[in-house]
């Protein structure tokens, strides 16, 4: 009964996804398309939640539905709300798309069944990670252990990717500056409601950052949540005030600092005759060394993600749209 119910929910959510995709393709209003993409991300997050991937669902909801939507809306301020109507139906394009789709569907046939205990991914390395997490790292959330410790290299790569994305946006668009005449209208209801909520959002961001060892969360989600507090402030009270709280010029430095914290943590262990990012070197007790290492690394990730997200938002919304 319960399994069938889960299957039913999965089928419903996947059908939703299909419908949303078709609606997003059909519409020519870019605002509508942006909102549809936001809904798409939320439904995807629900789907991840149904698959018990809480951390991934969290990231999808924070980044996909929250931040990307705000970013798209900022971009729409620069491009205008409607798609350039240019309906050219290319036969070659259709052929390539159908071919690729057919190949993908053909590939799905070789997949193991969903939830199959004998699937390769469950036999090869996952059991070792689960066992080693209890023995060597001693934190409840295996995802954080895998992300920050076992696969610390990969996460370092991801952090660098995020940093370079921020740097690329900065090079293309520049920092911009807030114009006082673009201040949002003064709205007492929004002011009163938003003010305490910004505090709540920031506290929640800190909770997610430092609670990542025990529950869902970690540096990536916390960075986005923390930045969204500032983005909300900027949207409601005006961007020039937000730029007074967090000046745009320090954000690239913060982003670099996050990457440097991560890298230095690895370098410290390298200098004490261990491999790169082996946190056992950080303390005389290996387990507390692991705890310290994960804390530092997550702090680096959180700082880098927070600064990059806010940086991209500033860049997009600060572009001069007079020309």
């Amino acid at each position: 009964m319960i399994e069938n119910l889960e299957l039913l929910i999965d089928v419903c959510l996947l059908t939703f996804l299909l419908l949303i995709v078709f609606a997003a393709i059909k519409t020519t209003n870019l605002f509508v398309a942006t909102m549809l993409f936001g809904i798409f991300s939320f439904v995807t997050a629900l789907l991840f939640l149904d698959l018990d991937a809480v951390d991934v669902a969290f990231t999808e909801a924070a980044v996909g539905a929250g931040f990307t939507t705000v970013l798209m809306l900022s971009a729409l301020r620069l491009t205008g709300a409607f798609e350039n109507v240019k309906h050219r139906h290319s036969v070659l394009g259709l052929f390539i798309v159908v071919l690729t789709g057919a190949a993908l569907i053909y590939g799905v046939a070789d997949f193991p069944n969903m939830g199959d205990a004998n699937a390769p991914v469950h036999l090869h390395i996952a059991p070792e990670y689960i066992q080693l997490t209890q023995e060597k790292i001693d934190i409840p959330n295996v995802v954080t252990a895998v992300l920050a410790s076992f696969r610390g290299y990969d996460t370092f790569g991801e952090t660098v990717v995020i940093f370079s994305a921020g740097a690329a946006v900065l090079l293309l668009l520049g920092m911009g500056h807030a114009e006082p005449k673009h201040e949002p209208e003064q709205n007492l209801v929004l002011w009163v409601v938003v003010k305490p909520f910004i505090a709540l959002i920031l506290i929640f961001g800190l909770y997610v950052q430092f609670h990542g060892d025990f529950g869902a969360g970690g540096g990536f989600q916390a960075g986005v949540i923390f930045a969204s507090g500032f983005i909300l402030y900027s949207l409601v009270f005006g961007e020039s005030y937000a730029r007074q709280v967090v000046p745009a010029s320090i954000l690239p430095r913060f982003a670099a600092l996050g990457v440097i914290i991560y890298g230095l943590t690895g370098l410290v262990s390298l200098l004490s005759d261990k491999t790169f990012l082996d946190y056992n070197a950080l303390s005389s007790n290996p387990v507390s060394g692991q705890h310290l290492g994960i804390l530092l690394v997550e702090a680096g990730v959180g700082l880098a993600v927070f600064s990059t997200v806010l940086l991209i938002f500033y860049s997009f919304s600060g572009v001069n749209h007079n020309e």
Binding site: E185, N187, V189, L190, V193, V194, F197, L200
Partner: protein, 109 residues
């Protein structure tokens, strides 16, 4: 026993309100009345559904978090509706009226 019946009532009422909200969102004529229909779903149906779940699971740490979610929803959703309404008025969307003279606000298109 009584609690489980109460929870069922809450869930049922929440479901009905969600349904009426969805129908209203689809069928009502203009932006403002649709917003009104959607706000019914947000401000009443969702808290009712969550209360039903809380009654069903009993009072644990999880239900405390759910209570927090209710508080946030009850404060945030009317604010969002308000903001959307202001944005629509700002974008010069005028409500549909039976006779145009009754609307004393901006000039209707």
């Amino acid at each position: 026993m009584i609690i489980s019946i109460l929870s069922d009532i809450c869930l049922l009422l929440g479901g009905i309100l969600t349904l009426t909200g969805a129908v209203g969102l689809l069928r009502l004529p203009d932006f403002y009345s649709r917003l009104h229909a959607a706000s019914v779903t947000e401000s009443l149906a969702a808290p009712l559904l969550i209360i039903g779940v809380i009654l069903d699971t009993g009072f644990t740490l999880d239900s405390a978090k759910l209570v927090l979610i209710i508080v946030i929803m009850v404060i945030v959703n009317p604010t969002i509706t308000h903001a959307l309404c202001r944005a629509a008025a700002h974008g010069r969307i005028s409500p549909e009226m039976e006779s145009e003279t009754e609307f004393s606000g901006k000039e209707s298109k």
